[in-house]
């Protein structure tokens, strides 16, 4: 089988961990203007770090995450049976070549597997879609932010006001542990698993794209305001910017249930996207808004 998609996947992982997306860098720079002195120092260090990482081709954060992918696989994509193995191979090779931190620990022996693969890892969220192509999103996500995930089974009568209380209080209670200013993914509806899955999926949405339903877009804006009103600030050291965006995704619900999932992403919101066409030829789509050499 053609290994070209593996090579492109490795490049996607390399770009994701070494280059902070332009829109994330822009959001940090915008936040910098309004911050407290201690908050400003944090944002300055984050920005300087992203510049060093990009210039030297080094992972900007040592926590390159548990390998996490979302795969939008076309119903007619001819190579669907190969994608899982491509990803597994690419993860092993990227661990050596980029390098990534070996982050997978055997649940029973506590031994590091040393190649970033293991039971259930890489974690792949498969989503079948119409078409003949396949799109793969890479989301390196650190453990410190993932540890601040939460699920709350609200009562339906609590509704949006319950969602607001939960999100504002939970983000504040995490303090500086998940590396704020963060990106807050919220999933509402379905079952408990749906809410968590929607919360994580919302993080793949490009920054600045509001939810298509106006009520949800308004909720996202309001939640961002509430989270920032806490005064927690960059790295939890007090300041105006606790989150850079809140994304909400929804599903309809059981009459008795109102699940709300929250997935916290740190300021280093690293992403990259690649596509594979029906001929099995892969190409990078984006690495944080731009691909080196393809900018013009």
């Amino acid at each position: 089988m053609d290994q070209q998609p593996v090579q492109v996947l490795i490049e996607a992982m390399r770009l994701a961990v070494t280059r902070l997306p332009d829109e994330v860098l822009g959001a940090l720079q915008d936040a910098h203007q309004a911050e407290s002195e201690l908050g400003r120092t944090q944002l300055e260090t984050m920005i300087a770090n992203a510049e060093v990482a990009s210039a030297e081709g080094l992972p900007l954060c040592q926590d390159t995450g548990l390998p996490t992918f979302r795969v939008l696989v076309g119903h007619e994509f001819p190579h669907r049976a190969d994608v899982g193995e491509w990803i597994r191979t690419a993860v092993r090779r990227a661990t050596e070549e980029v390098p990534l931190r070996p982050n997978v620990v055997d649940l029973l022996t506590h031994r590091n597997t040393n190649d970033n693969t293991g039971r259930g890892v890489p974690m792949i969220d498969w989503e079948p879609v119409p078409g003949t192509d396949c799109r793969i999103d890479v989301l390196p996500k650190g453990g410190g932010s993932e540890n601040c995930s939460a699920l709350r089974m609200l009562t339906p009568s609590e509704g949006f006001s319950g969602v607001k209380r939960f999100v504002a209080k939970h983000v504040a209670s995490c303090g500086g542990r998940p590396c704020p200013p963060g990106f807050i993914g919220v999933g509402i509806g379905g079952g408990a698993d749906t809410a968590m899955k929607l919360a994580k999926r919302s993080l793949y949405r490009p920054l600045g794209d509001p939810h298509p339903e106006p009520e949800i877009a308004a909720l996202e804006t309001e939640l961002l305001g509430l989270v920032n009103a806490s005064g927690l600030g960059p790295m939890g050291l007090r300041g105006r910017t606790t989150a850079l965006a809140v994304h909400v995704e929804i599903a309809d619900r059981h009459p008795a249930s109102y699940p709300v999932g929250l997935v916290y992403q740190c300021w280093a919101h690293r992403r990259a996207t690649m596509e594979i066409n029906a001929e099995g030829v892969a190409s990078l789509v984006s690495a944080g808004g731009s691909i080196p050499g393809k900018d013009e």
Binding site: P59, L60, N112, G176, L232
Partner: protein, 199 residues
């Protein structure tokens, strides 16, 4: 004003630091996360010595990316990890090893604060995620312990740093914790919102 600290760390210099002070560090530090803390406590309970000397060194909560090149380890990315995971064993480790400088992110709890007061030490914050920048200030990897058993992130790495920072004192030896103060303010800001209905 940014001060400059050099190892071996001495008690009077660390006692003079207060919450909000900024400094850079030159000298020796060692990394330890959850698993290494447990091993240190276990050795202590059995009355055994550590296989490495940490006297006068700073403890860095960090699980770096290292690359073995030719005959040495090269630091690739080495930012701080979340310190609160170590809260359960840190007070014991501080007292046992007489640690006077802990570097991490996100802060620690009241038991660590009280251990810092006992030994005359501080907890200093470094910006989370700033791994590439932190790795630049590592002059040399002077040793690694428990690598086979614990794996790269959890192993104890001994590092020589030059001008590591800016570090900010967020918990001092006089009982002050910036995290406690911010948390009180944050709860006060959120309080009125609990009464808001509707939406």
């Amino acid at each position: 004003m940014t001060r400059h600290l050099v190892t071996p760390l001495d008690e009077s210099a660390l006692r003079s630091l207060r919450v909000g002070d900024r400094f850079t560090l030159t000298g020796d530090l060692f990394t330890a996360r959850d698993a290494a803390h447990h091993k240190i406590v276990d050795l202590q309970l059995r009355g055994e010595r550590l296989p490495f000397d940490v006297a006068g060194m700073a403890l860095y909560h960090c699980g770096p990316i290292m690359k073995w090149t030719q005959d040495q380890w090269i630091p690739i990315s080495a930012g701080p990890t979340t310190s609160s995971r170590m809260e359960g064993s840190e007070p014991e480790v501080i007292r046992h090893l007489q640690l006077r400088l802990i570097i991490g992110k996100g802060g620690m709890g009241p038991d660590t604060l009280s251990a810092l007061a006992d030994v005359g030490g501080v907890y200093a914050h470094y910006t989370g995620g700033a791994g590439a920048l932190a790795a630049r200030s590592i002059r040399r990897v002077s040793g690694v312990h428990w690598l086979d058993e614990l794996g790269m992130p959890e192993a104890v790495w001994r590092l020589e740093v030059d001008g590591f920072g800016p570090l900010t004192v967020t918990m001092d030896s006089h009982g002050r914790s910036l995290y406690e103060e911010v948390s009180r303010d944050v709860n006060r800001h959120l309080e009125p919102r609990r009464q808001v209905r509707g939406g």
